[in-house]
């Protein structure tokens, strides 16, 4: 077993993405040391904004890195979207680095949404990495890949919102969103390729690699009553819908469920004949 499989690589990358996405969410006023953007005396976060007022001269415009000894800070209440004036900030009104409408700041809500989706994706990838059942479930892999698309879209959206609101005043937590978007794009493509690999592996398990195991089963003393045709798997399914094949698939680890009991050829024919009368079988598409 390789130490760094694709699943583990995706897990590591997603962990990094989550860490990156946490920073903007906990930015000021939640945690004082992290600032999403800084413009003149104003500092901005996802859930509010603050203003640094100098103690001596309140009208002085500070540098980008004001020393905490010389200022006192007023922050708004933690809520989604900025308002021009807030009860916690006295004598100061909101000033944005860009000419954006203040209502656009409500779009900052996508930051926590993006974080939640990424965490969901991370959990799903963890399940794929550490549980064999999920690893082999094509449906679960497909869902994970689709959610990765959603996570990418949200992450990109977050970055665009930050860019629109703060322009060049954006600080490192904002630029981490750009990095997150790029990493998520990589994860997304890796997940889709993983899904392809699993799909091919399943196909190969059905199509080619089972020849040996079918032969073993047919040689097995308890399987003497089973008539196996090895030309194609479809023949097996249609005519002797596969007890033996089933056994092999379980052995290969597909998500089939419990082992199928042994049946005679005649019984299998009866099953397969009912199978194709089923309304769901009118078209061959299955996820």
């Amino acid at each position: 077993m390789r130490i760094l499989s694709i699943e583990r690589l995706i897990t590591i990358l997603l962990t990094v993405v989550i860490v990156f996405e946490i920073f903007p969410v906990i930015s000021r006023p939640v945690i004082d040391g992290i600032v999403l953007a800084y413009y003149k005396n104003y500092s901005y976060g996802v859930f509010g904004w603050c203003i640094d007022v100098p103690i001596d001269n309140k009208d002085t415009v500070l540098d980008d890195s004001p020393s905490p000894q010389e200022i006192y800070r007023q922050c708004t209440q933690r809520k989604v979207g900025y308002k021009v004036s807030d009860s916690d900030v006295v004598d100061h009104e909101l000033l944005l680095p860009s000419p954006s409408k203040y209502s656009v700041t409500r779009l900052l809500i996508v930051h926590p949404m993006s974080l939640v989706i990424t965490v969901i994706l991370w959990i799903m990838v963890l399940l794929i990495t550490f549980t064999s059942r999920m690893e082999k479930s094509q449906f679960f892999l497909l869902m994970t890949a689709v959610i990765s698309l959603l996570a990418f879209l949200f992450s990109l959206f977050c970055f665009l919102v930050d860019l629109l609101l703060f322009l060049s005043a954006l600080k490192w937590p904002g630029w981490l969103m750009f990095a997150s978007t790029v990493i998520l794009a990589i994860c997304c493509s890796l997940l889709w390729s993983l899904r392809r690999n699993i799909s091919i592996r399943d196909y190969e398990a059905l199509n080619t690699n089972d020849v040996e195991s079918f032969a073993q089963i047919s040689r097995h003393p308890s399987s003497s009553s089973i008539d196996i045709e090895l030309e194609t798997y479809s023949v097996q399914v249609t005519d002797q819908s596969g007890l033996s094949m089933k056994g092999k698939i379980i052995h290969k680890g597909l998500d089939i469920g419990s082992t199928i009991p042994r049946k005679t050829s005649q019984e299998n024919r009866s099953i397969s004949s009912t199978m194709y009368r089923s309304p769901e079988s009118t078209h061959p598409g299955f996820i």
Partner: protein, 535 residues
């Protein structure tokens, strides 16, 4: 000046222009042809320059220093101050009417050029519906821009005649005020986005991925366009400013940029993946480069827009052009690339790759296993013992032990058996309905969407199928089956067929050989027929 903007605050000018307010010039002599005495002494003259929204406006062809009767110095000073304000409300050249007019006309020219390209260059087959949608959308976009440019020029002409001024925002207001423009823009954008979905479907080769792309793409397109058009129509139809929906236009604006960026990522990754074919000839290199530019145009315009280096709402002005470019150019690129790939496959031993989900038997096999699983579960519920499945040999051994107990007899319950006496649980019913719904969605996706939007297989017979009807006609004409009721008199002599393919300039050398072979064969047939006729 003030005008509606998607995400920008209504701009306010930081400067105060004196000439826009009343200036007290003191006593003086007023000279004018319209006055009774031609000239009149006024004790206190007050003057106010013509302004628009508190800002000076350019008086077309009048602010020249050549005239004897020049404007006041304060007017000149204000004008100089105004043109130094380098922002969206300033009067600098990049925000002036000239830039707007250049942008509009450039838009129009590019769109019409691409529309012509679509009609003369893009074949209907094999993506019949998509290509027709693309042509329809291009036509709508061109018509829309022609109407828009005509109207904006009319409006500017009116302003010029009545006030002697030209102002940018009169033209820009048409974006939000003109219902015809909004509706046509909505239709064309929606169809272009659907065409982009079909393009992305073409980029993926596996059926399942095509399905996912189709479902996601169509959902995103519908959500995007519906959210976009509602506030626009409400505002344009005089519904007034709805504060509740204030967040919607910027949200959809960014949403569109996100989708465009995602589309760009997919196309760029495809170009990188197909770099060998993309860099094979100089034409392909140019086309790849052009494709790259067109797909990133929309995000780039967004960056330009927010950094405020050109006229405001630049991405809105170029929105239609970006969509048509990112669709038509990429389509052309994919067409050419598919020709190269077909040639490569024709020369290679392996040919076209086949994917596992193209094998319908595989799906049947999976379905069979699903049915058996259901059978076994129902059987195990009735008291049978489940057999361990960790190890094949062990499992087989266990199976041997429990074989007699687990046999399903034909007369036992089958999966299709109707059980009138058993009341089914809610979970079972819900699961069944859900799976039926999913199957139906997949069925329609396969039947309607994928087969018309993007082929299941990269069929190399597009050109052949394109000409198949024509060929049938040719063969029928040669055999005399095109006019079955007419009477022909045959004579025994060599028959030379005129070249039936003269009109088909694109016919390849190989096909000509096939035609010649057919001619030879049919000549033999004609002789036989004539011989029979003479008998």
């Amino acid at each position: 000046m003030t005008y509606n903007n998607i995400w920008r605050l209504s701009p306010t000018d930081p400067y105060v222009y004196k000439s826009c307010n009343w200036l007290d010039l003191g006593p003086g002599l007023l000279v004018n042809d319209n006055l009774d005495q031609k000239a009149r002494y006024i004790a206190s003259i007050k003057f106010k320059s013509y302004c628009d929204g508190g800002s000076p406006v350019y008086m077309a062809s009048r602010l020249t220093g050549l005239s004897k009767y020049r404007y006041l110095d304060s007017v000149y000073l204000d004008w100089k101050k105004y043109i130094t304000a380098n922002n969206s409300i300033g009067g600098s050249f990049q925000y002036s009417i000239y830039s707007v007019v250049i942008s509009f006309t450039a838009n129009l020219v590019i769109t019409i050029f691409l529309t012509v390209l679509v009609f003369i260059n893009i074949r209907d087959k094999p993506y019949v519906k998509s290509s027709r949608l693309l042509k329809f959308a291009s036509l709508i976009a061109s018509l829309n821009l022609i109407i828009f440019v005509t109207r904006s020029l009319q409006k500017l002409a009116t302003e010029h005649k009545t006030h002697g001024t030209v102002s940018t925002h009169y033209a820009m207001d048409l974006f939000t005020d003109d219902i015809a423009f909004i509706v046509l823009d909505f239709i064309s954008t929606c169809i272009f986005q659907l065409c982009q979905v079909s393009i992305v479907i073409r980029l993926f080769e596996r059926i399942q991925e095509k399905r996912i792309v189709f479902i996601c793409g169509v959902c995103l397109t519908i959500v995007d366009n519906v959210l976009w058009v509602i506030p626009q129509l409400v505002e344009a139809s005089g519904g007034g400013y709805v504060k509740r929906w204030e967040i919607l236009p910027p949200f959809v604006y960014l949403f569109r940029i996100s989708i465009a960026t995602s589309y760009a990522c997919v196309v760029i990754s495809y170009i990188i993946r197909k770099r060998r074919q993309s860099y094979r000839s100089f034409q392909m290199v140019l086309l790849s480069f052009l494709t790259l530019i067109t797909v990133i145009a929309s995000p780039v315009f967004f960056i330009i827009d927010i950094s405020d280096v050109w006229i405001s709402e630049l991405s809105e002005i170029f929105s239609t052009t970006c969509y048509i470019g990112a669709t038509v150019i990429v389509w052309e690129y994919l067409d050419r690339l598919s020709v190269i790939e077909r040639n490569d496959r024709a020369q290679s031993v392996l040919g076209r790759p086949i994917f596992e989900d193209e094998q319908h038997d595989y799906n049947f096999a999976k379905y069979a296993l699903k049915v058996q699983k259901a059978l076994i579960r129902s059987d195990s519920n009735t008291g049978s013992e489940a057999v361990g499945d960790e190890d094949l040999e062990e499992g087989l051994g266990n199976q041997a032990d429990s074989m007699d107990n687990n046999v399903i007899h034909p007369e036992d319950e089958s999966i299709n058996q109707v059980r009138f006496d058993n009341k089914r649980e809610f979970n079972e019913v819900a699961q069944e309905h859900l799976s039926n719904a999913i199957d139906k969605v997949l069925y329609f996706t396969d039947q309607i969407a994928i087969k018309s939007f993007g082929n299941y297989t990269s069929n190399s017979s597009s050109k052949n199928s394109d000409n198949s009807n024509e060929r049938k006609k040719v063969v029928k004409r040669r055999l005399g089956l095109d006019k079955p009721k007419d009477v022909y008199v045959y004579e025994l002599r060599d028959v030379v067929f005129p070249s039936d393919d003269e009109e088909e300039e694109e016919e390849e050398e190989e096909e000509r050989k096939v035609d010649k072979q057919e001619q030879r064969n049919e000549e033999g047939g004609t002789y036989d027929n004539s011989a029979t006729h003479r008998k």
